[in-house]
């Protein structure tokens, strides 16, 4: 008996939800232009943080652990002998080093002669001006920051007696990693601020909507509608605004990506890097709609609660 009334209540509840669900769509469609403007504003607000997030993810996808990028070029003192170089290589092999490659002054000169085209000019020199050079390739260890490893190795080498100087090719890489970290923080900040913007835009839109329908709300409550029933269509409207805003943001994003893809591909080609600009993944798209919907619902809730309380101050309605 009790479960029967519960069942009936649940069904009434479901029908009320369904009614509000469809009536909210009807309201949005009944003023299409206003809805469209709100959705465009929301879409733009959403596309900014999401676009930045996507950019960062794409940057991360460029293989930052690529071998050559961590290479240290170690210039040794002029008077260093081959035995000493081998000794240093021996020492390095005990450390987190994947590979060392020693280049003798003769090799160096030869390479330079071939590569530079200054062959004849070099003949003028009495002696070989080049020192021994050691190319050190740090070992890549899982879960460890390549930058820190390179930095540690470089410090150790610089303080070594045989070493004149160390050139690290990865400085720009460190900077990029730093920038990406900064970008992550930026995405969080932007994400928060623009979520707030979305919330406020929806709350304001719903507030106006509630204001325009104050008569309707009064009539509803006079014929026995509770606050839940009055609130529901507005909450669904907010939900729709959020979801439609997310959809519009996606459209903007895909258009931008399509526009960027060709020039980016040619740029990456020039770096000898094949690179595919990634769009949103399915869970990300789903997440966007969810976040949009939840923000919309929440914004609508805030606006409706506030406004209904205001209406009620005249003692006209029920407490909300």
């Amino acid at each position: 008996m009790k479960s029967q009334t519960l069942n009936r209540r649940l069904r009434s509840w479901g029908r009320r939800q369904l009614y509000s669900f469809f009536s909210s769509i009807g309201t949005l469609l009944s003023h299409r232009f206003g809805t469209l403007m709100t959705v465009v504003v929301l879409g733009i607000a959403m596309v900014l943080p999401i676009g930045l997030l996507l950019t960062l993810e794409n940057l991360r996808n460029i293989d930052l652990q690529q071998d050559q990028w961590g290479t240290l070029t170690v210039f040794l003192h002029m008077d260093v002998t081959e035995q000493q170089v081998e000794g240093l290589e021996e020492q390095l092999s005990q450390m987190a080093v994947a590979e060392t490659n020693a280049i003798s002054p003769q090799q160096g000169l030869q390479e330079f002669r071939e590569a530079s085209g200054f062959g004849n000019a070099l003949d003028v020199l009495d002696s070989n001006p080049l020192p021994w050079i050691l190319e050190v390739q740090p070992e890549w260890i899982e879960d460890q920051d390549m930058d820190q490893q390179v930095a540690a190795l470089s410090t150790w080498l610089e303080s070594h007696d045989l070493v004149e100087s160390v050139v690290v090719d990865s400085k720009w890489l460190q900077r990029l990693a730093g920038l990406i970290r900064l970008g992550d923080a930026f995405v969080s900040v932007l994400g928060f601020m623009f979520s707030l913007a979305v919330l406020v835009v929806i709350a304001n839109t719903i507030r106006l909507d509630v204001g325009n329908r104050a008569d309707e709300i009064e009539i509803l409550s006079l014929v026995g509608a509770g606050p839940g029933f009055i609130r529901l269509p507005f909450l669904y409207s907010g939900f729709w605004y959020g979801v439609l805003g997310a959809f519009f943001a996606l459209v903007l994003l895909e258009l931008s990506l399509a526009y960027l893809r060709a020039p980016l591909a040619s740029l990456m080609d020039a770096y000898g890097n094949s690179f595919n600009l990634a769009g949103m993944s399915v869970p990300q798209v789903f997440g966007m709609f969810l976040v949009g919907g939840v923000l919309g619902w929440l914004g609508a809730w805030i606006a409706v609660q506030r406004y209904l309380r205001q209406l009620n101050r005249g003692g006209l309605l029920h407490p909300v």
Partner: protein
Amino acid sequence: MIRFDHVSKRYAEGIYALKDVSFELVAGEMVFLTGHSGAGKSTLLRLVLMLEQATRGQVWVNQTNLSTLSMRSSPLVRQSIGMIFQDHKLLRNKSVFDNVALPLLIAGLRYAEIRKRVRAALDKVGLRQREKSWPLTLSGGEQQRVGIARAIVSMPPILLADEPTGNLDPDLSAELFNLFRQLNQQGVTVLIASHDLSLIRRMGKRVLILSQGSLIDDIPADPTSEGFYT
């Protein structure tokens, strides 16, 4: 059905809208409430609907003491009462059908059931063919009848009307009062606030008279004058 027990309503400014009002409506009764503008008719109806709370005394509706209920229950109280307003209070952007369906949508009835009941209610007020019309395309009398259809669609045991004939010509007013009498004959308790004294007199029903917030007279029904506009 409705009972007022030494009810007073005082507003913050110290003005009494109602002063120590006591009366009782038994089930199936039809009663008129009259008095000058500002005599407290509307306040009395608002107390029944829980739009206001009594400052003193108790209001009973359907054997329930409203002062023991929290305002949270006011929607439930209103659902058990059909209310008719002078200015109709129809939703302009909804069709006649949707307007009448409102109390049933709130109750969460099945659509088939809603359709059946709305059409029955519209039939009763003679507007069955106008269900797709918009309220603003109807005459004042028709709009008022839509309001009545909405009030009776959920078959509440009590019907309240606040100056239902306020904007209508005498013929339409008489027609409307006849409709109320028909509903009353079907067992609905009816309380009508009106200052249309000549019509009230001809109906021969019980009349409560308010003056400056006090109930100054309670005229019983006159069984000999039932034949109104037949």
